[in-house]
């Protein structure tokens, strides 16, 4: 057993060292010349939230349910994580091209390093949400623990998509533009600025099969109010969860296989 741990440590020592160095230098570089620095990680989603809040609670009164402001924030933060990581993951391999053709290290480290820095901002954003929840006296019970599983699902899905896009972008540069259009469409097909209860049920049942939609509605359900409808509520069975979770797992497996196969030639093509 000790031997096993020793082997695992030996094998992942080098990737771990590189991962750490990349994350640290990325964080240093990101806000280096800015006056407020890391504060931007908090300020940006807050500003975005302020815009959405004004537009969707003052101008367009599209209230999706109780404590709608918090649900709005929850939706934008979850979607923000997915959007940010996939966009950065897409270009990450090509951006590291000059390094990849001089040093041999496991290529997945590049995508992981992007993941870590986006996860850090995500956690900070969640802290902001927690503060808003306390301020508006939304208190959670033990069922909030489900949220941890939802995060796990979200991270798995997003990393899988990022690996896939990152590997694909090396060969097919159009994917950058295609992805911009797709995420724009997906933004409106996902209950971020609206709640699924506002969508005709036959459409809602289809939209919620998208893992991100399922995650957002579930998060609202467990963290804010059980009036927010979930995938199992829409379909009347818990088994339907197998669809978004299945999509996530299939994407994870195919992306890893695809990435591994393609990564051998990244050094030549990136």
């Amino acid at each position: 057993m000790n031997d096993f741990f020793h082997r695992v440590r030996e094998r992942y020592r080098y990737p771990a060292i590189i991962l750490r160095a990349m994350v640290v230098s990325d964080l240093k570089l990101r806000y280096q010349a800015s006056f407020l620095g890391y504060l931007w990680t908090l300020l940006r989603p807050l500003a975005e939230f302020a815009i959405l809040y004004v537009v969707f609670t003052k101008f367009i009164r599209l209230v999706g349910g109780p404590d709608w402001a918090i649900c709005l924030l929850l939706g934008t933060v979850i979607w923000g994580f997915f959007g940010e990581l996939t966009v950065q993951g897409l270009t990450s391999i090509v951006a590291r091209g000059p390094l990849l053709c001089k040093v041999n290290f496991p290529r997945y480290v590049v995508v992981l390093s992007v993941t870590v820095s986006v996860v850090i901002s995500f956690i900070l954003n969640l802290v902001v949400i927690a503060i808003f929840m306390l301020a508006s006296r939304v208190f959670v019970g033990v069922e909030a623990l489900w949220f941890l599983l939802l995060i796990l699902e979200l991270v798995t899905l997003t990393v899988a998509v990022s690996l896939f896009l990152g590997a694909l972008y090396v060969r097919l540069r159009d994917i950058d533009y295609i992805w911009q259009v797709l995420t724009r469409a997906a933004f409106f097909a996902t209950p971020i600025i609206y709640s699924l209860s506002l969508v005709p049920e036959k459409w809602a049942r289809i939209l919620v099969l998208n893992p991100v939609a399922q995650i957002i509605q579930d998060a609202r359900h467990v963290l804010v109010s059980d009036q927010y409808v979930t995938i199992s509520g829409l379909w009347g069975t818990e088994w339907i969860r197998a669809v978004p979770i299945g999509i996530t797992l299939v994407l994870a497996v195919t992306s890893v296989i695809f990435f591994r196969r393609r990564s051998r030639s990244f050094a030549e093509e990136a």
């Binding site: 060292i17 590189i18 160095a21 640290v24 240093k28 390094l99 053709c101 001089k102 030639s265």
Partner: protein, 259 residues
């Protein structure tokens, strides 16, 4: 340390698809659906190259530009995958394809030391321990907190080299390192190579400089058009290399005169 091979290269070939012919956009893929399939132009960079580097050997690879030296190095470092054939490496191999890999102009000298050190496999703790030595060897004690873009190229090379000498390796792949830097730097490089030789580190050395081939190499191969055309002692292969270059030079001179 001695005895047995350090690197075995067997029947390695490498082909590249010429980049301008690769279909990288949807449009070109789409257009090519309606066209007779293009015969892709393939560049054969290496043809069934086989050789063996013994432990503790200082092994030279020479050849003109475009003869496949760097590709061969990258295959030995498993940065490129060979199209066919294989490479076995016995021991910890560190490639110096370039000095200062990963250096970022917007980071300070100190931060770059940690970043570049990580690529050599050093943890933060390990660099902490040798940081002062690295800096004093590079004679840059006063400028480590400056941004790297304000370093002169000489300073950049000094810190990169100072880091490189720290790499813990049984086998080093060195590509044309001596080509940069002034006389003082070259003499430091020379001392380092002698030190490596004494320690019994296996070294694969790519260069155009026949003087350093004669000074260091135990055995040399000559690459021409992706094939090994000579293999043997340093003096003998260096001579052959010069013979391949000089006729080409004369021909070029003749052409220049003619035009």
């Amino acid at each position: 340390m001695m005895g047995g091979p350090a690197i075995v290269v067997s029947d390695v070939s490498k082909d590249f698809l010429l980049p301008h012919l690769r279909r990288t956009t949807l449009k070109s893929r789409f257009v090519s659906l309606f066209r007779a399939p293009q015969t892709l132009e393939v560049q054969h960079v290496l043809h069934e190259v086989s050789f063996q580097v013994e432990k503790g050997e200082f092994f030279g690879i020479v050849g003109r530009n475009g003869s496949g030296k760097s590709t061969l190095m990258k295959i030995m470092a498993s940065i490129y995958a060979p199209s066919s054939g294989g490479v076995s490496v016995f021991g910890r191999l560190v490639p110096f394809i370039e000095l200062g890999v990963g250096f970022h102009p917007e980071l300070s000298g100190r931060e770059n030391v940690y970043l570049n050190g990580a690529l050599f496999g050093f943890s933060v703790k390990e660099i902490d321990a040798m940081y002062d030595d690295i800096v004093s060897f590079a004679e840059l004690e006063d400028s480590m907190d400056q941004l790297f873009k304000y370093y002169s190229s000489g300073m950049q090379v000094r810190i990169a080299f100072s880091l490189a000498t720290r790499a813990q390796a049984d086998i080093l792949l060195i590509d044309e390192v001596l080509a940069v830097g002034d006389a003082a730097f070259k003499s430091k490089c020379r001392d380092y190579f002698h030190e490596l030789k004494r320690r019994g580190t296996t070294i694969v050395f790519v260069t155009h400089d026949m003087a350093s081939v004669r000074e260091f190499c135990d055995r040399v191969i000559l690459l021409e058009g992706g094939r090994i055309t000579a293999e043997g002692g340093a003096a003998e292969v260096a001579q052959k290399y010069l013979e391949t270059v000089i006729p080409a030079k004369r021909a070029a001179q003749a052409q220049a005169k003619g035009s």
